[in-house]
Amino acid sequence: MSARTLEVDTLSCERDLRELFSGLSFRLEPGKVLQVAGPNGSGKTSLLRILAGLLPAAEGDVRYDGASIFSGQGREQWRQNTLYIGHQPAVKAMLTPEENLAWLCALKQPVSRKAIWSALEQVGLRGFEDVPSRNLSAGQHRRVALARLYLQPLPVWILDEPFTAIDKSGVAGLEQHVLAHADAGGSVILTTHHSLEHLPQVQVLDLREGC
């Protein structure tokens, strides 16, 4: 469950021949939350997608526990240790929240039906377990996706705008959960427009400064 140190070493990213950031280096120790900040188009999502393994980096390396996450054994280990939730919630409209989660979790490690129901209760979707997801609102879709945070004990979370479309009390609950995860020795990398800087576990990476 406990995370290891993540080292990002002179990472650069290009999209359509335009450089988004270059020479980006930082370390993320276990028990910390990294908030990636910056204006729109500064490469926050691209950075998260590179870390998730969806986008190739133009240059540089990322090491988790000393092994590069871009190749071989290191990539294998990294994929087993990370939970990525992107802009799109990956919730199928034709499936119920329970069916959605059963498959999404199986992509890492299958979970029991009971666990799914209790996770859905924790994100405030009690009573919606077997309603087709197309009848849910955008915020509820996101809650279904975020229920995975209560289901899978993976040490590193990569969350792209996790609080979008979620109401105030929901955001407060999720923030608590993110901090509890960090306190238990996990690492979290997230982008959000909510301010988290006042919290002791949070370190901020501002992409505008060109680090």
């Binding site: 997608r49 998730a52 393994g53 969806l54 986008l55 190739p56 294998e76 994929r79 087993q80 990370t82 990525y84 992107g86 802009h87 799109q88 919630p89 990956a90 919730v91 199928k92 409209a93 034709m94 499936l95 069916e99 059963a102 498959w103 999404l104 199986a106 992509l107 890492k108 299958p110 087709p132």
Partner: protein, 223 residues
């Protein structure tokens, strides 16, 4: 791993079951195309019998192509594919399961329907087993090759035409062998050679296409 394959199969089944239209469209298309031919060229059995192998095969090929266009599109648009790519399970294995499931619900019904429509085209009864066998061996190749194209065009708006341009040339060997087998059977010639070749193509497609599909999807997701 077995549990993952089972859960994926269940997911695909539920998705297909809740949108039956997507599955029925290609079958209806197949039926309509074949039944138009006797109306257009006349009910002369001799003429129909000559055209029958080609008509059935071309209709099956186009019906498969029609069903493939949206294969990965919805998974791409709602972010499911990203989750597949970042999973520690091998992507090629998962897409193989998805394509085989797709074939079971779209290719296999074509194989089962074909004898009925072949009779309408005056194909003799003793040729029907060969027709079915050739389709049974050929349609998986059509599905797998088509899925490579569907994966490569997944991120493109209106990729349907491009998909056809990319994939139809690759379908030619299957088409030639398939119609060749049925024609040989109508003339009482041996068909084993054709069918063995089609079996070879099937095995090749099952073992190599998943790698191509997975690579295509990775590119699509990184756009």
């Amino acid at each position: 791993m077995r549990q993952v394959i089972w859960l994926l199969f269940r997911r695909e089944w539920l998705l297909a079951w809740r949108r039956p239209g997507d599955l029925l469209n290609p079958l209806v298309f197949f039926a309509i195309v074949i039944s138009l031919f006797p109306l257009a060229v006349g009910p002369e059995p001799g003429m129909l019998q000559i055209m029958a192998p080609g008509v059935v095969w071309v209709a099956a090929l186009l019906a498969t192509l029609l069903s493939l266009d949206g294969m990965f599109r919805s998974d791409y648009e709602d972010g499911s594919l990203e989750q597949w790519v970042v999973s520690p399970h091998p992507l090629s294995m998962m897409v193989l399961v998805k394509v085989l499931h797709h074939w079971l619900l779209s290719g296999l019904p074509l194989v089962l329907l074909a004898p009925l429509f072949a009779l309408m085209l005056a194909l003799p009864l003793n040729v029907l087993p060969v027709l079915c066998l050739s389709l049974l061996l050929g349609t998986p190749v059509l599905s797998l090759l088509g899925a490579v194209g569907a994966a490569l065009t997944v991120g493109l708006k209106g990729g349907g035409v491009l998909l056809a341009l990319l994939i139809l040339p690759l379908y030619i060997p299957v088409l030639v062998l398939g119609t060749g087998a049925v024609e040989a059977a109508t003339q009482g010639l041996p068909v084993a050679g054709y069918l063995l070749w089609m079996g070879c193509l099937s095995m090749l497609a099952i073992s190599l296409a998943p790698l191509g599909i997975a690579a295509g999807l990775r590119i699509g997701v990184s756009e």
